[in-house]
């Protein structure tokens, strides 16, 4: 491969779509709620009752329990309880527009827990058969001031907002529903940095690979709106800035949910109406949630490939510490010699040309000037049996063409072990931050349960330390050479 062919920018490397983007297990669901964590497990609820459970946020199976049937629930943790909202019908497709939004509580979402048990559902909003509103698709937001908002509605009229009592889950006494949007469904709200965001889904639902669903957003300083998109249209006039659309073989994103992992690490859950690599079925998707100029942007699923791993601090590349082996290409920039000579490619330095100069056994890793050399090219490959985390699975990180693996040590440092064994300290969690950079964390560190990330201390010293989103030492970029199919 020549330098010319090196594709810079992880995003370009990640563009191809396929089942590699799907979650593990059997993530089949329609209209998923926000993902909620309960006692170390993850839950999302869908249309028709029930939902998915995951032990790690990556591998999903059916098994969550939600009574009441109906459509498109949402879930939120308030204190030590979970408030679930759902609608009693499936909307127009289900036979009319008369419907109601119900809420109920549960202390533990694990159906096998002795604390599992829903309270009696109460109605918090409704629509009549002849009303310009269809009370389905509830979305919940706890605002920064402790006020609890519920939005609902479909293309049949308005998106409406009511206020709930966060103590009881009931409608606030005397609260009147207000219209905040139109021409969408699957609405929900989120709050960030003084802005309230209204998200909804445009396009056609529930038509498999022909669904044109896509997620849009507007924002307002006021929780009641008006929510304005990036070109000044109000969402009550049909506006909305695109957050995510179909991607190649993944069709019809809808039903946005926000999941905040840590400061600077956010995820968005939704469904693909159809995953064409999984029989065109509707599946749960989880993507990084990025923020650009105050707008939410869908990140890309990380793809296997061979990458430069670049420190955000210095721009230096993570490398196996080896002797620098010079290439014999002459001093082209001096322009000496016969300028009529044909221009030829200079071959990339090959692993076979340098590997005998490398240290044997476990070796130091460091950051260095990026030169495209074999000791700086890392193959990043998912390990299916290793499990995962919310939205992603664990990866092994190997020097390309070798079994030398990046590993955490008991001294909370990093090294390259001579042979990858699959040990937890050789498995890595790769998550895109809200600014588009990446956090890299080992699955485990020998001798400690502390959660540490790969961090640059000094320009050239990679180590393990607590992640701080506001510190470039803690963040990395991936620049792609080749994808691994």
């Amino acid at each position: 491969m020549t330098n010319k062919n090196i594709i810079l920018g992880a995003a370009l490397c990640m563009l191809s779509a396929g089942s590699a983007f799907a979650q593990g297990g059997k993530p089949f669901i329609h209209d998923p709620s926000c993902i909620v964590e309960c006692n170390g497990k993850y839950y999302t609820f869908g249309t028709g009752g029930g939902g998915l459970i995951s032990p790690d946020g990556w591998h999903w199976e059916s098994g969550a329990v939600r009574p009441g049937g109906g459509a498109a629930p949402d879930a939120i943790k308030i204190g030590d309880r979970y408030l679930i909202a759902y609608s009693t019908t499936g909307g127009g497709m289900g036979g009319g527009h008369a419907s109601a939004i119900m809420t109920m509580w549960n202390k533990d979402l694990d159906p096998n827990s002795p604390d599992f048990g829903y309270t009696e559902a109460v109605e918090v909003a409704s629509s009549l058969v002849d009303e310009d509103c269809n009370a389905i698709d509830a979305g919940l937001l706890m605002g920064p001031d402790g006020r609890l908002w519920c939005t609902y509605g479909t293309y049949f009229g308005h998106i409406r907002q009511v206020e709930l009592d966060p103590e009881t889950g009931f409608r606030k006494e005397g609260n009147e529903a207000i219209d905040i949007g139109r021409n969408m469904e699957a609405s929900t709200m989120m709050y960030r940095d003084g802005w309230y965001y209204l998200l909804g889904t445009h396009g056609t639902c529930c038509d498999g690979v022909n669904s044109t669903y896509n997620i849009v957003v507007g924002r307002s300083r006021n929780p009641h709106g008006p929510f304005i998109d990036n070109v000044g249209r109000s969402m009550i006039e049909g506006g909305g800035k695109m957050v995510i659309n179909a991607e190649n073989r993944l069709i019809g994103p809808g039903h946005f949910g926000r999941y905040i992992e840590d400061e600077g690490i956010e995820k968005m859950s939704f469904h693909w109406e159809a995953d064409m690599d999984q029989s065109g079925r509707s599946v749960l998707a989880i993507r990084p949630l990025l923020w650009k100029n105050g707008w939410p942007v869908a990140g890309e699923a990380f793809q296997s490939g061979t990458y430069e791993i670049q420190s955000e601090r210095s721009g230096y590349a993570l490398e196996l510490a080896t002797d620098f082996v010079r290439m014999n290409s002459g001093m082209g920039m001096f322009g000496r010699g016969n300028t009529d000579q044909p221009v030829v490619k200079v071959e990339q330095q090959k692993l076979s040309e340098v590997i005998d100069t490398w240290p044997t056994g476990n070796a130091e890793v460091r950051n260095g000037y990026y030169m495209g050399r074999p000791n700086q090219r890392w193959s990043i490959i998912p390990v299916d049996e290793a499990g995962g985390y919310v939205g992603g699975q664990y990866y092994k990180i190997l020097i390309e063409g070798t079994n030398r693996a990046l590993a955490a040590t008991a001294a909370c440092e990093v090294e390259a072990v001579a042979e990858y064994t699959g040990a937890d300290e050789q498995l890595w969690r790769i998550e895109q931050c809200t600014d588009g950079t990446f956090r890299i964390m080992p699955k485990a560190i020998p001798g400690t349960s502390e959660k540490l990330a790969l961090v640059s201390l000094g320009d050239c010293k990679p180590t393990l330390a607590p992640f701080d989103f506001n510190n470039d030492n803690c963040k990395w970029a991936f620049k792609c050479f080749t994808q691994i199919k």
Partner: protein, 238 residues
């Protein structure tokens, strides 16, 4: 700029500059030049500078180590040349100001100096004492005094062009390849400073071009370590 061009221009610039800074005495020394970069160390312990940089050092007049290009300082070669013996007891000797050390048949003198900058300019040091300054290895030693044990600190620094560093006799930091003077360019693994005296010893290698380094300790929170004092002996310890 291309490294070789950079070297060419730096050589030219240095030759021009050195002809303008003070005047060399008959013995080749240039006190005015030294005064621009250093003061003589005092008996009173020094503190690190405001950013934790260690500015008090015993510097040995440079020893010839020819290198036509700084690209030679790759890991294995640096490891090799830092293992060579240049003078007796080079890894244990505690120098004092004016101590004469025999390098082969040549006398080299240790100078206890405080740098006026956060970095230590070795090329100007060599010029000030009328010594060759390209293709040299510079030995430097200092003592870090701690009132208590300090765990999980790191030695951090930058160098032009390469260096090997030792703490209390143990190799702790290699600055290989043709590097530049960059603050916190390279850091060690987690280290311990013990209560009392800790000896930092370095070998700085340089072919053509500038020769300088900066060094400090960083605590476990990434902050400069400043609650230490730094000493170099002015006379032979009794």
């Amino acid at each position: 700029m291309n490294r070789l061009l950079k070297t060419f221009f730096s050589v030219s610039a240095l030759a021009l500059l050195s002809s303008q800074v003070g005047f060399s005495k008959d013995d080749g020394t240039n006190p005015a030049l030294l005064d621009q970069y250093y003061t003589h160390a005092s008996a009173a312990p020094a503190s690190p500078d405001k950013d934790g940089f260690i500015t008090r050092w015993a510097l040995l007049e440079p020893i010839s180590k020819p290198a036509s290009s700084n690209s030679v300082w790759i890991d294995s070669y640096l490891q090799e040349v830092s293992s060579d013996t240049y003078f007796k007891d080079q890894m244990t000797l505690m120098p004092y100001d004016g101590l004469k050390t025999m390098v082969g048949k040549e006398k080299h003198i240790w100078h206890a100096l405080d740098s006026k900058n956060y970095y230590v300019n070795l090329l100007r040091f060599a010029q000030s004492y009328g010594k060759e300054y390209y293709g040299q290895v510079y030995f430097v030693v200092t003592t870090i005094n701690c009132e208590e044990d300090m765990e999980d600190v790191r030695l951090a620094g930058g160098v032009n062009s390469a260096a090997m560093w030792y703490l209390n006799g143990e190799q702790v930091l290699m600055m290989s390849n043709d590097r530049d003077l960059v603050v916190d360019d390279i850091m060690s693994k987690r280290l311990s400073l013990k209560k009392g005296e800790n000896v930092v010893r370095g070998m700085i290698f340089n072919g053509p071009g500038m020769a300088d380094f900066c060094l400090r300790f960083i605590d476990k929170d990434g902050k400069p370590v400043k609650n230490i004092t730094v000493t170099t002996a002015l006379t032979k310890k009794k």
